[in-house]
Point group: D2
Chain length 204, copies 4
């Protein structure tokens, strides 16, 4: 069975309500429906430390999370927007993933080769595309494949103060994006599991 790790990069620890959680649950549901086993992790619930090393020693929860990522075929990162940018927790996750640039898989490629990535963003307003572009780009640099339409986002009209969770009304636009992303993540994950990218001109 394909496995997905879904990281929620909200600033708020459980059990606080999280808009990011609400939209990620729709992604998890769609992936489940296609037979993918998902683990949803709210990063801020775990003591992840600032840094760019893979393991920052005693009390650092990141090694546990990165091991799960390396054991899965699909990685989805979900983040709120703050001041137009991905959250500090999301940036912290990317900084920790950066350590993988100095490692390789068994055939000499970056460790995230043959993994497939998607990005999910929710905010009161503006910044979703900037955030998704930055997350997907970094994951591509780290070795992930980015299928078409591998993103979901929702933001309210500027200045309206709209909230994804509070409004509660199901958005058809979000539903379409979730379905597209889940479909393509699953298809590419299967393909890359069965036919890994040959080690030919793309090793360290």
């Amino acid at each position: 069975m394909l496995k997905a790790v879904v990281l929620n990069c909200t600033l708020r620890p459980s059990p606080s309500v999280s808009s990011t959680d609400a939209i990620l649950n729709k992604v998890v549901e769609a992936l489940h429906h296609r037979g993918v086993g998902c683990e949803l992790i709210r990063v801020v619930d775990h003591p992840v430390r600032f840094g760019v090393e893979r393991d920052l020693g005693a009390g650092d929860a990141w090694p546990m999370i990165v091991d799960k990522i390396l054991a899965a075929e699909i990685l989805v990162i979900g983040t709120p927007i703050w001041l137009g940018h991905r959250s500090s927790v999301c940036q912290m996750v990317m900084e920790r993933l950066d350590a993988l640039l100095s490692e390789t898989n068994r055939v000499g490629q970056l460790p995230l080769y043959n993994k497939v990535a998607g990005s999910v963003v929710v905010g009161n307003e503006d910044g979703a595309q900037e955030v998704n572009a930055s997350v997907l780009y970094n994951l591509m640099q780290l070795g992930c494949t980015i299928p078409p339409n591998s993103e979901v986002y929702w933001v309210a009209e500027s200045g309206s103060g709209g909230e994804y969770v509070l409004d509660g009304q199901p958005s058809e636009h979000v539903a379409k994006l979730v379905e597209w992303m889940a479909s393509n993540l699953t298809h590419f994950a299967e393909t890359l599991r069965d036919h890994p990218i040959p080690a030919d001109g793309n090793t360290a």
Copy 2:
């Protein structure tokens, strides 16, 4: 009397309807109200050529536009969002302004010193802050002063396809932003006209 040049960087030549025009007209009205004389220029109506020189020769309309900018105290750039970014016309304008980095004013500072800048963005959805940040940052690099809250933007809820012009309903949020920007542009333009930035440690 203070003078403002207001550039509309829509892709559509006159007399096409332009959402950017609609929102810029509110800015012009607010500046007029504070005694500022405004010239609103739809760039695409003029034959501006691609390049990074100040004058690209016969048939290039840019020298006429840049002369107006240099004769004014306030510069406002308005652009639509396309694919999350400032329009190609807006980027072309910035590229032409780049030529000013190799010139100086009479006291040896960049030519746009003592000028004040604002940015205005309108779009169907998402990207307003990315665009305003990039426009204001480039103008700051070129020598403009950026007062607080020197921006206006409006975008619809993601996926809604909302249009600033068609909806027509006056946005209170936009009205507040316009008022803030017009107030601060005018105040700083007066201050810098009467007390230019001393040439001390900031010349080429």
Copy 3:
């Protein structure tokens, strides 16, 4: 034989020397080496008009270019950096590609499904990652697949005024990026030609 369209989005018409041309030629060489037929198009040599429609009528060169893109399996976009951003010509290309969001292929997906994209950037300084992120993200939204490490970039030390073409010294870093990108573009293009993405949950 796989076909690639490689767009050079420099501001300078032929026969001006173009750093972007110099680095794109290395990409074309690497793709040729892997059996891909490449067509390198300097966009500014052709009368492409501002707009977001597929065909802007008499004298518009874009329909010719987009037809070539639709007939190829690989799309590479190369652009200089101006003021930290993709060139106005590159943004104009993206705006014209935007028209494809309202079309579909034979099975109802976006027309660029089953195509593979890469991005190439060269500049005097800073901005390469912002530009590559934005280009690859937009192409992903339009239906392209983004393989791992599907980018090449070179910029000089900030403030050094270094030029890719003038320095002339072959960069080992660039050579590695070119090889990685060419390898992965070719592999994914072959895979998607032979096994198109199924129309299942990802149609308009």
Copy 4:
């Protein structure tokens, strides 16, 4: 005497060597030379918590830092670049500053009105302008004034792995940027201390 708060947003706690520290020390020296009293704070040495409130309760160091900012006339934020973006610590700082959007000063403007801001970035490679644009833009939204050339940055040639600290050679380009920024920050801080922005059309 004018006061400046200079925040170092490196990921590494003291006493680790920090490139950001090295470049910020040049800024502090230049501000001292102009009679500004500076306090340099390495944020990660203090227990600042994730969130968007001004005070997150017992053990949260942010209220101490924000009080210093509110008591100063100049705010300089320095950050490394990680994956092309401002550090997670810098984003955390911006998120905490976001709380000020719901407060006002004595005349009803945002609390950072009449304060002047600058941004400083250092990295192995690429991303400096994206980072400075985002930091200065957010501070402008929060009420700061951004003088011309209010930034310093240094990045190495892409792929070179160059380090600001290790190379050690003084960069003339950085020296010029530091001097320009220090000059303009000081001039505008004096002007705004002596002639605050009138509360006219720019209050909440």
